[in-house]
């Protein structure tokens, strides 16, 4: 008997069932668990109180990222600098104590490999195709770019995984997001995912596991795929899978925690079998035309509030749904914008290049190529470049990208979540605008009263050097030899 054709999601799901339950739920084995300082202290504490061990420390990796300041962490003599905020310091100290106590490998804030969990996982080869991977953070969806069934969980689930290496789950519905055709060279993976979120809406993926397919997705590099999968949660989906292919295997080969030797051969063989079978049926398919994607920017306080950079702020009255109209009105008031206002030319006081969405080496290269030979505009008060990990930082330094940014007036920082969320000292002041490569433009996300415009790294760089939101296609070319 031949097996029913299955999707990538179903294959990974089936391979991880410890037990199916009558009510439709299942006990699902978790292969990989990433832990950071914000969503783990209560889980560790609960284990301790119940006298329960952490079942598989060897499948768990802890890295601080959300709270760590991105300024120098040690002084000239190599002594650890104190963290000014006592509450952040307490949370970070808790992780530093909990991880070794429960036998978990801990990458400390001063280790060269430290970085944002979702940057560290793939680059260490901790994230592997066909694994189940969880983390107490909703952008865990990012790891789906390598074909891992990866999703964010809450602290009680973190505790459940620590204690049992499983979760009780019900299967998600499956949604194929097929991106047909080729992306224009002017647009990035960030523009693509913003376009997709705009098409699906922030709740369009709720209850679904997305699989991204199609020519445009196949053509993306692994780092670009990470940007796409990362923001699946902004469309409501906990998971955003991409089938592993030769690019995935080439990316993983030789990474510190990736399989070696015979194991590698076996693994690749199995990974190749994971692709969705011909004839498998998704619960829903959404088709996106790559040619429709343009350099994009958000105007409101929801990630679905996307327009092309050539566009204008929409009129709230133009939305059919009264709830949407009300939401748009609130957004515009918060953002200090008027209907019909052009997006291009909107002055920004802050620029942030970083976050788990856009802080990898290709992102920094894209931004640096725009910045090269130019200077941060006078009206921009803060322009930060925050590499996603220590490895990304050193790679960028080896390529001289740090010099490009510094010469242009950017600050070159230590790895961490930084200005993506207002938990560490990097914040956008109230009422000020920020062109940001992060993933959420929620009210107060980058600091109370902060006004966020989500963009790609190249567009953030263009905003920094012009002082306003800019269509990067309109930048005057810099002549060789004119380098500032």
């Amino acid at each position: 008997m031949t097996k029913n054709p299955r999707t990538l999601y179903e294959k990974i799901w089936d391979a991880h069932i410890v037990e199916r339950r009558e009510d439709g739920s299942a006990l699902v084995y978790i292969d990989r668990h990433l832990v950071h300082e914000v969503t783990s202290p209560q889980a560790f504490e609960a284990l301790r109180q119940a006298g329960r061990p952490l079942r598989r420390p060897d499948r768990t990796l802890a890295v601080p990222d959300h709270n760590v300041p991105t300024t120098a962490r040690v002084d000239n003599e190599g002594h650890l600098l104190p963290i000014a905020d006592p509450q952040s310091a307490k949370q970070l100290a808790a992780l530093a104590k909990n991880a070794p106590e429960f036998g978990v490998r801990y990458i400390s804030a001063t280790d060269p490999e430290q970085g944002i969990v979702h940057v560290v996982g793939p680059e260490q080869g901790f994230t592997l195709p066909g694994t189940t991977l969880v983390c107490g953070d909703s952008h865990t969806a990012a790891h789906g770019a390598l074909g891992a069934l990866a999703f964010g969980i809450g602290t009680s689930e973190v505790e459940h995984v620590m204690a049992t290496q499983t979760l009780i789950l019900t299967p998600a519905k499956t949604m194929e997001v097929r991106v047909e055709g080729k992306l224009s060279p002017d647009v990035s993976a960030k523009d693509l995912i913003l376009h997709i979120i705009h098409s699906l809406g922030t709740a369009g993926g709720t209850g679904y596991a997305i699989e991204y397919t199609g020519e445009a997705i196949r053509n993306l590099s692994i780092e670009e795929r990470l940007t796409v999968s990362n923001m699946s949660i902004e469309a409501g989906a906990r998971t955003g899978l991409i089938a592993p292919d030769d690019k995935t295997f080439a990316y993983l080969f030789g990474r510190p925690m990736a399989p070696k030797g015979q194991d590698w051969e076996k693994a690749v063989q199995w990974w190749k079998s994971l692709a969705t079978d011909e004839g498998a049926v998704y619960d829903k398919t959404v088709i996106i035309k790559a040619e429709d994607v343009q350099p994009s920017v958000t105007w409101g306080t929801s990630p679905e509030d996307v327009v092309p950079i050539t566009g204008v702020v929409p009129d709230p009255a133009s939305f059919a749904d009264p709830a949407k109209q009300a939401a748009a009105r609130r957004s515009l008031e918060y953002m200090g914008l008027e209907p019909g206002q052009k997006m291009e030319g909107l002055a920004v006081e802050n620029v942030f290049i970083g976050s788990c969405t856009n802080s990898r080496i290709e992102d920094l290269r894209a931004a640096a190529s725009v910045v090269w030979g130019r200077h941060v505009a006078d009206n921009v008060k803060q322009a930060l470049v925050v590499p996603g990990s220590g490895l990304v930082k050193r790679q960028a330094e080896a390529e001289g990208l740090d010099e490009v940014f510094k010469a242009a007036g950017f600050e070159w920082r230590e790895p961490g979540c930084s200005m993506c969320l207002a938990m560490n000292p990097d914040k956008v002041p109230a009422g000020e605008r920020c062109a940001s490569t992060s993933n959420r433009n929620f009210v107060g996300r980058q600091g109370p009263g902060a006004r966020t415009h989500l963009v790609s790294p190249a567009m953030a760089a263009a905003a920094a050097v012009t002082g306003h939101l800019t269509d990067l296609r309109h930048l005057e070319p810099v002549e060789m030899g004119e380098k500032a």
Partner: protein, 192 residues
């Protein structure tokens, strides 16, 4: 976990859609190492506005919250569920919840009830003047005006909530099955 059977009383008629986790509990309140003390930060940006439902004495200590579509979207922070629980809220009613939020709510004995938009609209009306009753056993929401709205709930979640079961304790009873799975995994996919 405390068992939940009936939730009865006044309800905050909030009603807005896309209430994200940054609105429920802003990031600067997440720097805590325990589950308590979050109620003071709950809905901070909403409470900053004059005449908001949370500070209206009419709804003081209401055990129910009625919200719009896509409640709890955004981050995975369980602090959102802890903060709402600590406010004394035991159930949230909305046309749709984000997946992560409803999971977190359930783990903390906070009931999330999904009802069609029209029913939620009706309850928002009633909530302004009268109490609402939520009966988990029979899966209905009722009002003093003979409204009777049936809701669906995952049977496993229902059982856990009604009996106040500890999920981890339950799963640990299956240790042997987990070990067996790990043995098979070690031989089939040794690289994992």
């Amino acid at each position: 976990m405390k068992a939940v059977k009936i939730v009865e009383g006044r309800a905050y008629p909030l009603g807005e859609s896309n209430i994200d986790t940054d609105i429920i509990i802003p990031a600067h309140y997440l720097k805590t190492t325990d589950r308590k003390g979050l109620a003071k930060g709950a809905f901070e940006t909403i409470r900053a506005k004059e005449g908001n439902v949370f500070d209206n004495p009419e709804y003081k200590d209401a055990p129910i919250l009625i919200a719009g579509d896509n409640f709890g979207c955004g981050s995975s922070r369980e602090h959102a569920a802890w903060a709402i629980k600590e406010m004394g809220i035991e159930a949230v009613i909305a046309p749709r919840f984000s997946d992560i939020f409803s999971g977190n709510a359930f783990k903390n004995g906070l009931l999330t009830v999904v009802l069609p938009e029209a029913d939620v609209e009706r309850l928002l009306e009633v909530a302004k003047t009268d109490p609402i009753t939520l009966d988990l056993e029979n899966q209905v929401v009722t009002t003093p005006f003979q409204d009777r709205f049936h809701f669906e709930i995952d049977p496993f979640r229902k059982r856990c909530l009604l009996e106040g079961l500890d999920e981890i304790g339950l799963t640990l009873k299956d240790q042997d099955k987990i070990s067996q799975y790990e043995d098979v995994l070690a031989s089939d996919r040794p690289w994992v």
